[in-house]
Symmetry: C2
Subunit: 332 residues, 2 copies
DNA sequence: TTGTAGGCGTTATCAC
DNA sequence: GTGATAACGCCTACAA
């Protein structure tokens, strides 16, 4: 910056002002400076700026997985929103591990992010402590924690699964199996399972067909393997409700290859409305959740939290996101 | 840090050393300091550290889209690799726009990343200039540019598509259509198209069935729409080669709903080996590219570029990544 | 093993 | 509208 200032015959301060276009530099001077900046390929160092202003311009974001179109879409949408107000995304990949989450939160915090965004899938006690003490707005996504830290954007997975199960019962299914992961304590998958069980119990039905298979997250392949063991898991079952569309698609594929007809012999239902459920044949009935909506609402919340905030309405702590039941060909 | 130092009865310097565990602090002192750090919830400020050491610890990464399992997987793998050596991922989303790429490169550079990773899909002249002058290692992925800036990790899309087309011809297909996007200049999709055309011309076949539809990136839906206009696009065609698996799946779905048999009436081929092509019925023949491999090799290259670098072998400028033809049920 | 002095590249603040 | 000065919070280099 010194070099630019000398070349332009002004002080560093004036260059700094010209660069930030704060309006207090005469147009002529500013034009001259900008030309020199371009010619000298000068790129300001933002870590120095951060140090001086105490504004990092970072949005720390954690994801369990990117190879899941929900998270991928919400991150992508969030990325667009925050870039539009000049913030940058610091991304961490937890791989569904609370230990990694803890470690990532710790390293993110060293960057003094202006907000920290992460899905709620259960946090370790230390993660909770770090987040609370950080003095940074925390946005938990995808689930409504019983004890939110600050802000939440999402829906109740339990309630969504309960609604779907209740609707299946209303459609006449009685022996419904639920396919989910092993070791899913505190995850959103476990919340869905709880919602399923609640609906079944409320209807006086048995929850004896709980299939637990594979580590989170369940994949198409896990579903295929479960579906291949039809006799073992699905004897006398009339409907298979899967914790997500991926295993639902796998179950469906396995059924097809055994000439088990869907939905005539057995129904298959997923959760998430991933693209694959829409284009499989038969198309899979599922619970539609609005991934882009989560990214978009998170982005808006960040804008209101950090930005000029023209909007005078109060900032609410919980932003609900739509959930809908999508009926397709895989159910009668 | 001052507070911690005072409480521990040492100087700030000793605290700084203890925190970084540089070995020059007596175990007893360090233990005492660490305890106080934990108790006071002190979190070092890395932007100050960056300023002092001139090491940001950032890996700047650009992606055209995350809602594409190739990019999602490679970013995820890369994320794991870089986090393991204490670096953090700064993510930018270009949405396949060279203008946004340029803007993102500019804002990333202000953070002084230690390396910048981006897919090659053509850069604007200014992007090229910025990258070259930045004095930061640049890793271009997914395609081999004719004029790489520094390092490349990827394969030739043109050559891969040429191989697939040549193999289709060898299997007896003659009237092969190629489905790709409009306005794909300089993209990897265009390279695939060129490879297809090369193979056809080399075999003395006509390239009259070039279907151009939709803006990049092509989706399942685009494919479905193209496939639905069978008479318009695929009269007398015996094989449809799509620029990626997504439109291939869409084309296949559209054919099925018109009772057009695949592969008996017409073959369908994709590019990418996305999960959907493996589990569709019929499963789709495709060109398998190793997304995780790209992430992993990029990560390794970064480790060698920045890390201790125990490996004495020279660092090569181009790291090739495997491409294979996967034959499935959608071709005879 | 520990401490002191100085600087990293910006910006806030106050003066002109 | 522009400039001088003093931080911002850490680390390098050197000294003890």
């Amino acid at each position: 910056m010194e070099d630019v200032a000398r070349t332009a015959g002004v002080s560093r301060m004036t260059v700094s002002r010209a660069l930030r276009d704060d309006g207090s530099v005469s147009p002529a001077t500013r034009a001259r400076i900008m030309k020199i900046v371009a010619r000298m390929n000068y790129v300001p160092d933002q870590s120095a700026g951060t140090l001086a202003t105490k504004r990092s311009g970072f949005v720390a974001t954690l994801v369990p997985s990117l190879n899941n179109s929900h998270f991928a879409e919400s991150v992508q949408t969030l990325s667009d929103e925050v870039e539009s107000i000049g913030l940058q995304l610091l991304l961490g990949h937890t791989a569904y591990s609370t230990a990694r989450e803890e470690q990532l939160v710790e390293s993110m915090l060293k960057r003094r992010p202006e907000v920290i965004v992460l899905p709620f899938d259960g946090h370790s006690p230390r993660t909770n402590r770090l987040l609370k003490q950080a003095n940074v707005p925390v946005i938990e996504q995808w689930e409504i924690p019983s004890k939110p830290i600050d802000y939440t954007v999402g829906f109740s997975n339990r309630e969504a699964a309960r609604r779907m199960a209740a609707a299946l019962i209303e459609r006449g299914y009685r022996n419904i199996a639920f396919v989910s992961e092993e070791d899913d304590a505190w995850t959103r998958g476990a919340a869905r399972r709880a919602g399923f069980e609640q609906a079944m119990l409320e209807a006086g039905l048995s929850t004896s067909h709980m299939v637990r298979y594979g580590k989170p997250p369940m994949t198409i392949e896990h579903g295929y393997e479960v579906g291949s063991a039809f006799k073992r898991y699905f004897n006398s079952v009339d409907c298979v409700f899967c914790v997500s569309d991926a295993p639902a698609f796998g179950v469906l594929s396995a059924f097809k290859s055994q000439n088990i007809r869907v939905p005539e012999d057995i129904a298959v239902v997923g959760f998430g409305n991933f693209e694959v459920s829409r284009f499989s044949s038969p198309a899979i009935s599922t619970v539609e959740v609005d991934a882009k909506g989560i990214g978009r609402e998170t982005g808006r919340l960040i804008c209101r939290l950090l930005g000029g905030n023209e909007d005078p309405s109060p900032i609410v702590r919980h932003t609900p996101v739509d959930v809908q039941l999508r009926w397709r060909e895989s159910t009668l």
